[in-house]
Structures are given as C-alpha cells and as structure tokens.
Symmetry: C3
Subunit: 465 residues, 3 copies
C-alpha cells in the first residue's frame, strides 16, 4: 500500500509559520549580551582590552562544534545507498530550526535578565548547537522512516524537553556534565529510541533492499565519522570554565577516542569471517569513547582513565551493533537505523556512571583547594547528584519519546509506507530515478532485489524496449 | 563542430610566466609586517606579550575563510555529473593564483609604506582570500563553458578591478562592508553575469545531457554548501575591528543563515509536485542569508533583524532558481550555470540596501557614544554613502564584466564547443572515459540521452564487439 | 596463488594487547602538565588569567593538524577505485594507535620530569600528531599492498625511530625544523620507500586492473588534498615559539603552496596530449611546496623566497610523478603507490637544504639582536648542523625501513597476494561485491579488464543465470 507522502502543504506551512514565530519571539526576547553589544566599548572595564572579549576564547570551539552538528552528524547519516539526500539534508533543516528554538528555550531558563530579555553571545550559540545535537541523535534512530514534517515536530518537542531537562540537571541538581553524556547523549538517544518504538513498522523488511550501503555512500559517511572524531575534544571542552578544565577536557577526550578505535577494530574483526572489518563499526563504534568521557572530561580522570573508558566503550559499542541492535528490533520492536543505542545510549549511560564515580572519588589532594570547587557538593554527595542527573536524563528521554511518538503516529504527517522507506524519492527530486520511472516490470534487470544506483541496463532497456 | 581545446601551450605558458612575474613583484614589493618580522621581539612595546600578536586573534577566522574559498566554493561546484574535476580543480588553480595577485593589488592600495614596500600579515591573507572569492563567484556563472586559460584571465582582471573598487568603496566613500555584500558578492556576481552575457552560447542545449547532476555529485556539492554555511559567520566577522563588532557579526550571520534554511526549504517544497525538495535549492539558496547580512553584520541589526533578512532572502533566492534563471537565459541571454544571480547578485544587492538602511537608522542611543564611531559620518549621510557604494560595486561588476568578456571572446583561449561543455574530458585525463573512447555508434547503450558515469554496458560491448 | 589474508586472530590480538599495554604505560608514566592539572588554579602566577592558558594559543593549530592527519592523509588515500575503505580506514586505525605510542616515546625523550613522569598538554598532542604523520607518509608507499597488522607493526617501529631521530636532530644537533621537512617528511618518506623496496612484488601487475581511480574516487581524494593544502600553514607553524615566528611560518607556507599549484598545473598540462591535466598531479604535487618550506618556515625566508621554493617544488614533484616513479619501480624495485617520493621525499630533502642555506645566510641585520637567538649557533655553524640533521633523517629513514621491511617479510602478517592487492575485499566486508562473489567466469561482462564498481550487468546475470 502506497501511503501519501505529499508534504506540499504541511512542510512549507510548518517552516514558514514557525520561522515567523521565531522572528516575533526573537523580537520580543532576544538581545545581544554585553560583550556583543555596541555599548561594550564604553561599558567594559578599562583594564580589559578588545582582544579579551570572550569571543576569542570560545569561537574556535564553537566552530568545531558547528562542524560536528552539520557535517559530522549530516554526513554520518549519508551511508544508506539511496537516502543520502535525506540524511544530510533533513539534518541541515532540523538543525537550522532547532538552534533558533534552543536559543529561546535555553535563554528563558538560563539567561533571562531582570528586564525580561535574553542576552545571547557565542556561549549561547555553542549551547544551542548542543541542544540541537540531542535531536539529531534521535533522528539517527528514525533515519529513512519519517517525513521532514515529523522531524520538525520531533525537534520542536525535543528542544523543549532538552531545555527543561538541562535546567533540572545543571541548575537544580547541580550535576556537572561538560560534554553532555547525560544531558545530550542519554537524553537524545532514549528520546529517539522511544519514538522509534512508538512508530514500530512490522513490515519494514519490505524496503530491506534499500537498507544497506553502497561503496561510495560508505566513504561519504566516513567524512561524518572523522569530523565528529576529530572535533570531539572541542565538543567536550567547549563550555567548561576557561583554564585547566578546558585544557584537560580536550586531552581526556583525545585519549579516550584513540583507545576506542583500537578496540572497535579488534571486535569488528574477531566477529567476522576471515577477520574482515565492517564499515558500520568503523563509522560508529569508534566514536563511543567521546560520548562516554563527556561527563567526566573536565574531571581529574587521568590519562590512563580516559584510555580505559575508551577501551571499554569501543568493545561494548561494537558488540552492540552485532548483537543488541538485532535483538532490539526482534524482541523489543525498536528499529534503530543508525544504531544510536550503541553509539549514544549505552556510552551515554556509561559516561554518566563514570562521572558519578569519579566525582564521588574526588579529593582535595587530587584537585587542590581551588580545583575542588569545581563541584558544588562534597564528593560523595556530588556523586549522588550525578547519578540522579542520569536518571533525570533517562526519564525525560523515554517519557518524552513516548509522548512525542504518540503525536507522530497521527496519520497527518506524510510519512512513507513500509516499502517506501529509506528512499529519497519520497521527498526529493531525484533526477535520474524519476526520469526512468523505475520501470521494474518491463525491465529484465528488475528481478534484482538490490537495484544499484547507476542504471545502465535499466535505461537501455527502457529506451530500447 | 569540435573546437580546439588544446591548451598545451597556453595554460603552461600563462601559469609559468605569471608565477615568475609574481616572484619578481613580490621580491620588489612584499615584506613581512612588524608583527611577522623577526625584529618584532625587540621592537614591540614592552607590555605586550608574544601571545598578543594579532596572529592569535585573526588566524582562526582566516582558516575558516580559507576553507570556504577552497573547499566551500570548490565542492559547491562539483554538482555536475561530469564536471566535478573542473569544478574543484579550476577553483583551486585560480584561487591559488588570485591570492598572490590580490596581495599585490590590495597592498598597493592599502598597505604601501613610505619605503615603497607592502607589509603583509594574517590580515592581508584574509583580504586576499576575500578578493579571490569575488572571482570564484564569477566562475560559478561560467562553470563548464570556459577554459582554464580564460579563468586565469578572468582572475587577473577580476582581482585588479576588485582592488580598485574596494579602495573606492572603503577608502574614498568610507562605506562599511564587513562581509562584502557589495564589495565581494555584488561585484563578483555581476562581473560573472556580464561575462556570461558576452560569451552567450545560443546552442548550449547541445550539451544539455551533461547539464544535470547525478546522485553522488549532489552529495559532493553538499560538502561545499555546508562548509560555506558553517563558516560564514567567520567570513562576515573576519576583518572587523576586534571586540563587540566581531562578536556581533558572527551572531547576526549565524541567525540569518538559520532562518534562510527554513524559507528555502519551504519555497522549494511548495513549488514542486508532491512537495518534493530540489537539491539545487538546498545547495544554494540556503546560503543567501549569509550574503545578505554581509554589510550590516557588524551593525546593531538586532537578532530578529538578522532573522528577517534571512527569511526574505531564502524565499527570494529559491524563487530566483525557479523563475529568474530560466528567464535570464531565455530573454536576456545570460547563461548562469550555478545560479549566482540568485545566490550572490540579488542577496548582495539586498545586503547593500539593508546596510544603507540600518546605517541611516543608527543612533547614539543604540550604539553608545563610542560605538557610533564605527561610522565615519552622521547616520543619514552614512546611509547615502552606503547606497553610493552599492552603485560603485554594480558599475564595476557590469562594466568590468563586459570589458573582460570582450577579451575572452577572442578565439585563442581554447574554450570548448557548444556540444562539449560541462565535460571534464576537454581538459582532464579521465581514465575510464578515455579508454573506451565513448564509442557511441557501436554501442547499443548509446541511444541513451544521458550516458551514466559508470559504463558497464559500454565497456562490455566495446570489448566484446 | 591466493595468499591467506585471514587476520581474525592477529589483528584483534595486536589491537587489544597493544591497547592494554598503552593503558598500563600511561598509568605508570603519563600525567597532566601544570596547565591542564586542577592544581593550576592555585599554583599559577597571580598575574596570569585563565585565558592565558597555553591551550587557547595552541588548540586551534592542533585542530588543524588533527584534520590534516585524519581527513587530509585519510582522504588523499581514497583515490584507488576499490581501496577507499583501506585508505581512509587503516589511516584512521594506525593514527589512533600511533598517537598514543608517540605521547610515550616523545615524552620519555622530551618531557620526563624528575619524578619519572611525563607531563602532557596540548603541545604534546600536536607533537604526537606530527609523529604519526611520519608513519602515514610511509603508508602511502605501501597503500594496497600490506595488511593492517603490518601497518600496526610499521607504526610501532616508525614512531619509535621517529622519536629517537627527532631527539637527535632537535636536542643533540640543535637543528631547527618547525614544519618537519627533515624530521617528518624526509624520514617518513624514506622509511616507507625502504620498506616498499624490501617488500618488492615482481608480479604486482597482476592487480593492475585495480591500480587506477574512478571518477568519484578522484573527487574524494581532492577532499584530502584540499584539507592538507589549506591547513598546512597551521602544520608548519604549530609548534614554533609564540610571536612573530609563528606568524611568519604561516605566511611563508601560505605563499609557497600557492606558487606550487601554478607550476604543478603547468607541468601536468605540458606533458600530456592536448594539455589535459592529470588528477594525480593536482592531488599530490600541489602540496610539495608545503613540505619544502617546512624547515625554513619560521626563518626570514622572505615572501618571494617562499614563492621560489614553491615554484621549484611544483615542477620537480610533477616531473617526479611522470618520470621518477616509473623509473623507481622499473629499475630500483621500489613500488610507490601514492608517489610519496615525489610529494614527501624530494621536497623534504629540498626543505632540509633550503633550511641549511637560509640558516647559514642568517644575519643580525635581518633577524635583529633578539630574533637571531632563534638559532643556537652562529649562522655558518647552524647551517652545518642543519645539513647534519638532514643526513640523520635520511639514515634513520632508510636504515629503519630496511630493518622493519625485513620484519614485515615474515610470512605471518596476512598480506595479500599479488593479484589481490588494491582490493578492499581482502580486509573489509564489501557488501555488493561479496554478495555477488565476483562470478567472473559465468558472466559475459567478466571479460572486462577493468570491472566497474557498480555491477548492474553482473548482478543481473548472476541472478538470472
């Protein structure tokens, strides 16, 4: 049965109406903060020079995070043979919307001045990108199975939930979470998995011919992998306090990720015939160490501690791709296209646990009398707060996902039929395909389960027949 | 009729002779400036430390701009099915030449010392990259229809014109143009369009089989799109004064671009059957907001103002791709391969107008007594100067383009015949194609209008026949 | 004869055991340095603020170098039609291992404290990436002909040799080598060439059908080229002293690379029929100027001097691809897949010589009384030391390569047979290929020497036959 994927009214309507709402809300609420306002020149302290504007100490990190959000996540999702446009294109769309909404939501919770205005600066931009990352993770579970309108709804609610959850974790519970193992990854992944569970498609195997990759789509995905991998130290250090904490967060993440690569390769090889490597593992599991070191990145985790975290996550994440993803689909009815359970959910939870343990084990001898002030509470108590924060992230993710999933089940969103998933033709003008009309019935090549992208024979027979 | 595309003499001659000229002129004129000269250590003020060298506050922006020029523009032009080498490769060639010539031209106008020497530093490198960007925009209109020798000529004259125009706008008219809406985009786009008008090819439809994209070439182009989109905040803030202005320019550009994505998607969807998106719009129109906010990026445009600019440009630019580009080709004899009229020309003009209006509306209450000194003149007068600058950019673009177009019409440059455009085989060793000689007559697949890149059938029949 | 490429035991074993060793050694030796330790807050001088942490002045350069190592080298090696996974994937693996080992090896030689601990910071991370780059260069010569286990061994020994060689050159001979023309490029290239000589395969032409590129693999390789080209100024300036030297190193590299592009294009064009360009030259020879300016980048080479260096190297490197690579294979039995002899070996040696000459020609009038202290010795003597350093790099490269090559000849590493080289199927699950089993005998298309990646006919006949 062909479902109606016509989004010619709904998508433009959502984009235009929501963008106009953003303009109105920005007009009412959003202003430049002191350092980005033209009054800074006269109001800044006299002993501060222009080059001490925080812009110079945050902007390089911001750009790295920005690349991760748009190129990293975007290209990581181009791996499907015929859903590369949707992977990178819808990622682009929802990130561009989400960051605006995030500036508002996070602003209301964190940066609302006495005058009722939200002040934004480069720090807000990093946080908005972080918030968006949560929704992009959720998109990974749903890749190829939802319409762009559904993704916009997912993002609207996702950013809202994120901002509340983040406020509770950082400002009420006083947990630390520099790289967002809990706030971003755990929340985002369970949010996406819960939605995927709500949108379960029992006949998804009808589009199994499109569920794999082709050679070059795997190379495209490596662009995403590598930009995520390289810039993850910036991600985990972008919003920490200036000084040694930021420096340490970069080092810890760098080391954890290096370690993950080796164990991901090892497990990928040992579980396959002749020890051949699987591109899916290399593209994804190599990143798990960055997720898992997120909470504790700024702590005194020690270099070897970072290596251990990465070591374990590389193994666990790769095993997840081999065993857990099929299990989730078969027994729990959770279809997880990109395997975000292995890349974000499990490592995120581990990251939260590592953070709780290392916070609980903190001592003045290791951190110094000044350094220990990183934590609001004494070590044991701080550890408890960290563990509590992890529960909050889990609850918001699962609860929010079920709620939003229920909304997305309404038959109004233009989502594709089961045999039409993972196919860019649903939402994109794909010139070659369209012009040939995929005449499978007339075409001797059509007995293929797995039609290749380049249609030499097809087109020949079409024209000659 | 097959034209002679042999450039075995002309291209090497141009490259070698011009490069030797560069060496001689650099030997005569170019020196390190104070901060990059080894005497800095003893000459710098005592209270300045090594880390206050301007290198540290400009270089990250420079690298972002550098990526935009080489990867951004380069990959954006890989979208054609068989002109990806020419897109990224000639972009590389002319940018590498242009930046050298720009250092000289801009140096003579802006940085000539009393000793007759030009001092260069990281700031000069950013400006040289900016200057090159103007020529790369012009290349977009001509993509696939000119020889690399013509592109070198285009760049030589383009950089020269740019430097004069920039001098008039910034140093004689005292207009502000941080992100170059007028100086770079308006000039570059009309320069390219005027050349394209001069080089009009009435029979270009003879190579229409090659004028489209294939699936993976569209994904390559998204690399260019995203790197341009992500780093545009750096572009618009790279050469502003340090401090709040630079900070604000980044925020405004970030917001304007986000807004553009939503309206470009909306218009793309609403004008197509079933609301399907067109990759051409996503690749290009999503960037229009960055162009249009260029002039006013450092002004107190306000966050909602940036969103409004992006909103309008996303709509206008996408409509341009749907209606104006075909109109220009049919009625004005302007063939614009990449649609630079929609991405650079119109948004550039809008950017100039927005700049003039916001400058005219500036007030001390908004900018503060120090901040208002950003402008040389009182608001109303500054607005007039801004408008005048826009006219200068337009005149230089159109006039210069007609002049250079006339030169490029000479039959000595090795440009391709009408049925040979958009084909890398003219100027590149393309191994697969060459080895098969495209034996269309012998080949049953050859009745195809649209020969795919991968030549399975072809090669089979060639060998077997 | 099919060799056994089963690495299901050896690769996982090497990865796991070595990674555990890293954890143990890091636990014993590696600590945060003062600026990344939580005690910094209380121990730092009072007049130093948090934003003066060296992190802020090294980290942007580090990230650029990081991109060069993983995306630059990785994607440059995707050019082969069926070895893109191996190119980017094994590059990823050995870089991730190498950087850990480099932190240890370089730490023991350079940063060992009185307490027997190695202190690491962002500076160490840059140096570790540099060290890894040497091994990745060596991989270029061996691309497609070795197993990942062999690459791990190559990296283990390569990093070890590198650290010793670097210590001799920088700390015993007191030569300067900011961008590593000698330490990284000369060493790395001759190390790889010597190994390739030891592993000579007389019947490599049996896999000649796979030794070329396809259209899109060449575009992928341009991603690598451009990121190397753009960020090379960061590479050559990343570890110089803060101040004018770092600024100057970036300018010199920027100029040298620009010049190289023009001469590489010129030579590529003049040596081919109809002046057509060869993608191999554009991908590789355009980078030679960055290598050759490495040693002298921080010296007062002068802008025109940089252009001259780039000019010569562009010509020489392209000629190398045309004449020297075939000569080396035919007469010296050195098979150099990526042509590292032309991109790294020759330009590296030139870089060492340029460094020696410019150091010997240094004078107080050019450098100033403070600036001249850049050099440990008086000019003439310093020139001699520079020349000596070049010899050390050559000896370590060739000697080390012969030694390691002998180890890699042992028949235990799972390397591919001669007719199986350059084929990702040996070490990767390549879905399309595998599922069809490459049934050449049953397939009328199979008479092709050059099977294309997309297997339309193949698969049709397989299924229908």
């Amino acid at each position: 049965m062909e479902k109606n994927t016509n989004i010619r009214v709904s998508l433009p309507a959502v984009c235009i109406v929501w963008q106009i709402s953003m303009i109105i809300l920005f007009g009412i609420f959003i202003r430049y903060d002191a350092e980005s306002d033209a009054h800074w020149l006269e109001k800044k302290p006299k002993n501060i020079s222009a080059i001490e504007n925080d812009f110079y100490f945050r902007y390089p990190s911001f750009q790295d995070v920005h690349v991760m959000v748009f190129v990293g996540f975007g290209f990581l999702m181009t791996f499907l043979k015929r859903y590369s446009f949707g992977g990178v294109g819808f990622n682009f769309l929802i990130a561009a919307f989400g960051l605006q909404w995030a500036l508002l939501m996070q602003g209301w919770f964190h940066h609302l001045g006495d005058d009722g205005k939200i002040s934004i600066n480069v720090y807000s931009m990093i946080n908005a990108d972080f918030c968006v990352a949560g929704c992009l993770i959720a998109y990974g579970a749903l890749l190829g199975k939802v319409s762009p309108v559904q993704l916009m709804v997912l993002t609207l609610f996702g950013v809202t939930l994120f901002a509340v959850e983040e406020y509770i974790i950082l400002n009420l519970i006083y947990a630390k979470d520099a790289g967002g193992s809990m706030v971003i990854h755990t929340f985002g992944a369970y949010y996406g998995l819960a939605i995927s569970w709500m949108l379960y498609r029992p006949n998804l195997d009808q589009s199994s011919r499109l569920q794999g990759s082709v050679y070059h789509s795997d190379v495209f995905a490596m662009i995403g992998t590598l930009f995520l991998w390289m810039f993850w130290p910036s991600f985990n250090s972008a919003i920490t306090e200036h000084g040694d904490g930021q420096h340490r967060a970069a080092i810890n993440t760098y080391l954890s990720l290096a370690s993950t690569v080796l164990t991901a390769v090892a497990v990928s090889s040992v579980f396959q015939k002749h020890g051949k490597l699987d591109m899916v593992h290399i593209q994804n599991a190599t990143l798990a160490g960055g997720v898992a070191v997120g909470t504790a990145a700024e702590f005194m985790l020690m270099p070897y501690g970072s290596l251990i975290v990465g070591f374990c996550c590389g193994i666990l994440s790769t095993l997840g791709y081999i065993y857990i993803t099929p299990f989730l689909e078969k027994h729990l009815k959770i279809q997880d296209t990109c395997g975000i359970h292995n890349l974000h959910a499990m490592p995120g939870v581990i990251g939260g646990i590592v953070g709780a343990i290392t916070a609980a084990a903190a001592s003045e001898s290791v951190y110094g009398t000044e350094g220990i002030k990183l934590f609001k509470f004494p070590p044991a108590q701080q550890g408890g707060h960290q563990a509590g924060a992890l529960c909050v992230a889990l609850c918001f993710g699962i609860g929010g996902g079920i709620l939003v999933g229920a909304i997305l089940r309404l038959p109004i969103w233009g989502d594709p039929a089961d045999d039409n998933c993972f196919d860019d033709e649903s939402y994109w003008e794909v010139r070659v395909f369209s012009s040939l009309h995929w005449k499978r019935t007339l075409n001797p090549c059509a007995i293929l389960d797995d039609p290749p992208l380049t249609l030499t024979c097809y087109s020949y027979h079409d024209k000659g027949g």
